[in-house]
């Protein structure tokens, strides 16, 4: 992605430099050529419609190229590939907390292997922050009360700056960290043989402990809708609308169950707002999503280390 952004940037730079140089040259040339001379008067010219139209349409066409190229890039930047590894991120004043699907937790440091698409599912515990890795040319604000998503694929091992790019209070400039990009085998070593409890398993335990499982059963006989297979699918609501069950939908349904009632069900679920932490919420979301995994599929980012490195 960094190369793509740089390519557009250089294109913009070259076109802008050309425009700047030509305007500066004209201004300087006119300033010297038509400087006041004794006995010579200015020649009055009212303007020219043809010229006005020309220098409206040509820049407009150039601008549309800028727009289209930028928009295409943006689509790529904003749409994580389907089988990305997922990292749940909680930002707070003034630190970054990461949790891998395999259960590893990190603070202000994020380890990823090269060649793997990594999807950051992020929320904030307090104010707005922004996840910014200049080397990857990505930035995404992290909001309280909802998930935002960013993704990247690192191609070169190394340690890269992670900045908070949205002013967030006293130690805004201290809310920094690093992304450590490793060779797959080093990454596997770092992962260290799976002593951690995978996030979805943590979620499953919570699901039982909190009593969710009594209504949301794996069959269709529960008082709540079954959650098996819903992730990423459209859901018909009681008011006739249809929404796609993404991370934000699952999150909202846990915190504000009455906001979107699934067609055919009653609004009887209690809210969990304020009763579970953001980390627990992430685990629950990860669990609900895991219910939609194909047995052979890689959704949810298991087996990250098994991915073969690809160059971009």
């Amino acid at each position: 992605m960094a190369n793509n952004v740089d390519a557009l940037y250089i294109f913009l730079l070259v076109v802008s430099a050309l425009m700047t140089v030509s305007i500066f040259t004209m201004v300087l040339f006119f300033a010297v050529r038509y400087r006041k001379r004794p006995g010579q008067r200015a020649e009055q010219i009212d303007g020219s419609h043809a010229l006005e139209i020309t220098w409206s349409i040509i820049p407009f066409c150039v601008f549309m190229v800028f727009f289209a190229w930028g928009a295409l890039l943006y689509f790529k930047e904003r749409k994580p590939p389907r089988d990305s590894a997922e990292v749940y991120t909680v930002a707070k004043q003034w630190m970054w907390k990461f949790e891998h699907m395999e259960g590893q937790r990190e603070i202000n440091e994020l380890h990823v292997p090269i060649g793997r698409d990594v999807k950051m599912i992020m929320t904030s515990q307090d104010v707005i922050h922004s996840f910014y890795v200049p080397a990857f040319r990505i930035k995404q604000d992290v909001l309280p009360g909802r998930y935002t998503v960013a993704w990247f694929r690192a191609t070169k091992p190394g340690t890269y700056h992670l900045f908070c790019a949205e002013y967030c209070g006293t130690m805004h400039s201290g809310m920094i960290g690093s992304v450590v990009v490793m060779e797959p085998k080093d990454y596997e070593t770092w992962m260290g043989g799976g002593g951690n409890q995978p996030l979805a398993v943590t979620g499953e335990k919570l699901f039982t402990e909190l009593g969710c499982a009594t209504c949301h059963r794996t069959d269709t006989q529960g008082r709540g809708p079954t959650l098996v297979g819903i992730y990423g699918k459209p859901v018909l609501l009681e008011d006739g609308r249809t929404v796609v069950a993404d991370e934000n939908y699952i999150r909202e349904s846990i915190l504000q169950p009455a906001a979107k009632i699934v067609s055919g069900f009653k609004p009887i679920m209690p809210t969990f707002q304020g009763q579970i932490s953001d980390e627990q919420l992430n685990a629950l979301v990860a669990y609900v999503k895991s219910l939609s995994q194909q047995p052979s599929g890689q959704t949810g980012g298991r087996n990250m280390a098994a991915a073969t490195p690809q160059t971009q």
Binding site: N4, V5, L8, Y9, S16, T20, I23, F24, M26, V27, F30, A31, Y34, R35, K36, R37, Q40, A42, E43, Q44, I45, D46, G47, L51, E52, W55, S56, P59, F60, F63, M64, F67, G70, A71, L73, Y74, F75, E77, D126, I128, Y132, P134, I138, K139, L143, G145, R146, T148, H161, F163, C164, A165, Y167, C168, G169, T170, H172, S173, G174, I176
Partner: protein
């Protein structure tokens, strides 16, 4: 109220008609009110500039070693709030617009002279609230007041700062209202819309934005105060609010506000370029329509400040393409100024030097705006020093250049005295060099990834060299700004008396004496000529040097 005894031989002007503090504080003369504003905005310009210097000094070294983190956050917050709301927005309209619009259209005063005075008092009340905020320990929300940081997580003087901006906003609304009505109703016989100087067109377009945009900011700030005081839950998700709603409301005003700052500057530059090229403006109609076009389309681009904030993909696309639309009229303006010089008879007095500076810096500022409107690149450079450099090129490189150019151009009319031309040119050069040295390195810093509003960058020592250049530039810039302040004051006593038309310029304001009498015109002028009729203007006196 003391009435001056007009000495034999001394003409009565708006300056010497009455003396005493009361004659100023209760005046309804648009020219005196303009001078009252001039004092206010100059004061706040130097306050805001002082904060800027402290910011630059802190960034001289990577570590946060000059001031505390909180202090630094307050410095950039108050620099922004003071400069935007108490200098940039009122500067040209309330000083030069106030002074010149009635004269340019052949009127005795604005449509509502008392409301004009009320505007100034509101500005001062807002200013006092801002000073109260500063003296009491300041505010550190960032000038953008982003929620929920501002409503929930800071314990500085957010409410008084919000009220300061709120009250000053009403000053801005009333000034806009006054200009709109004045332009519609007070034009002299023969002063048709197509004969208006572009300076008036620019202020007309600006006033429309002030009228329609500012109330939204006012309401938004009231909501911030409500959420902070009564926990109403409008913007804070913990209370059921939506933080993006705040950003939409805030930028709905604050993006058009950029055009409030730059459009009057464009008006000034049009006057200056024509005068010192001795030519009618190239493409008068296109220039006037471009001003209105910018004002209207400028209302439809606000969410380009939010491409990484969490808005939908398609919203981002719409706001990106609309942002490119607004760039077209801006480009038209640059081409037309350049073409105006073609086959002219050009001289290089101080105002013209500032106009050259404006065209150059506005071009760079505008073109880098295209980078930011491009979605894919914006993701990387937004909220970095790239953005800081971009908007300073527009607001300082563009607007402050134009303001200083305008002050030099009309100073003989305002004060009745000439400023020292040599010093003027030197200051213009210092400002241009200092400005570029300060802000050009910041484009590079931004692309390297230095986020804005960072107090400490010791993790990235590679940023230091560019920051040192920037700080060095800022000191040159400071000298460039102090010089005019000094020689303008000096010239009020020691400057050569100004002739009525020192530049042999076109326009009604040059047909009245310098300084003008209280009611501007002894008899009602009747306009029979087009704007910028430089072919009809005899060069009676050598252009002042």
């Amino acid at each position: 109220m003391a009435t001056a005894v007009v000495e034999s031989g001394e003409r009565e002007t708006y300056l010497n008609r009455e003396y005493g503090i009361k004659s100023w504080l209760l005046t309804v003369d648009h020219k005196r009110i303009a001078l009252l504003y001039l004092m206010g905005i100059t004061f706040f310009f130097f306050i805001g500039g002082f904060f800027a210097l402290l910011i630059r000094l802190e960034l001289l070294t990577p570590a946060g070693d000059l001031v505390q983190a909180d202090t630094y956050n307050k410095l950039f917050t108050m620099h922004g709030q003071v400069m935007v709301f108490f200098f940039l927005i009122p500067a040209v309209p309330a000083v030069l617009g106030n002074f010149l619009i009635p004269i340019m259209i052949g009127a005795k005063d604005l449509a509502f002279p008392r409301i004009n005075l009320l505007s100034w008092y509101l500005y001062i009340i807002g200013g006092v609230l801002m000073l109260y905020t500063i003296i009491n320990g300041g505010v550190d929300t960032g000038w953008t007041f982003y929620t929920p940081l501002s409503t929930e997580f800071l314990n500085t003087h957010v409410i008084s700062a919000g009220l300061a901006v709120f009250v000053a906003g009403f000053s801005s609304i009333l000034t806009g209202l006054n200009f709109v009505v004045t332009t519609h109703r007070m034009r002299a016989p023969g002063m048709t819309w197509s004969r208006l100087p572009l300076f008036v067109w620019a202020h007309y377009a600006t006033s429309i934005i002030q009228l329609l945009g500012t109330p939204v900011l006012a309401i938004t700030l009231v909501l911030v105060v409500c959420e902070r005081l009564f926990h109403l839950g409008i913007f804070n998700p913990a209370l059921g609010g939506d933080p993006l709603l705040f950003q939409h409301l805030f930028w709905f005003y604050s993006h058009p506000a950029v055009y409030i700052m730059i459009l009057p500057g464009m008006g000034i530059v049009s006057e200056i370029v024509c005068c010192f090229s001795r030519k009618r403006i190239f493409g008068y109609q296109a220039m006037a329509m471009a001003l209105l076009g910018i004002a209207v389309v400028g209302f439809l681009v606000w969410a380009h400040h939010m491409f990484v904030a969490g808005i939908s993909l398609y919203a981002a696309l719409i706001f990106s393409i609309l942002s490119y639309f607004v760039a077209v009229p801006s480009a038209i303006k640059v081409f037309n100024w350049t073409s105006t010089m073609y086959k002219g008879s050009i001289t290089y007095q101080t105002p013209m030097l500032y106009a050259f500076g404006f065209i150059g810096l506005f071009t760079i500022g505008g073109l880098t705006g295209l980078f930011l409107a491009s979605l894919g690149v914006d993701v990387h450079v937004t909220d970095t020093y790239f953005v800081v450099a971009h908007f300073h090129y527009i607001m300082v490189g563009g607007m402050v250049m134009a303001y200083l150019g305008g002050m030099h151009f009309w100073w003989p009319k305002i004060s009745g005295r000439m400023y020292p031309e040599g010093w003027g040119r030197l200051a213009a050069l210092l400002v241009f060099v200092g400005f570029n040295l300060t802000f050009f390195p910041q484009f590079i810093l931004g692309y390297m990834g230095m986020p804005r509003r960072y107090w400490d960058y010791s993790h990235s020592p590679e940023f230091q060299i560019l920051n040192v250049l920037s700080t060095a530039g800022a000191t040159i810039l400071a000298v460039g700004y102090l010089l005019p302040m000094i020689y303008f004051l000096w010239s009020m006593r020691y400057g050569k008396p100004a002739p009525d038309n020192p530049w042999n310029a076109a326009g009604l304001e040059w047909m009245v004496p310098s300084p003008p009498p209280t009611f501007n015109f002894d008899e009602q002028p009747v306009v029979t000529w087009e704007a910028y009729n430089y072919d009809e203007i005899k060069e009676e006196v050598p252009v002042a040097q």
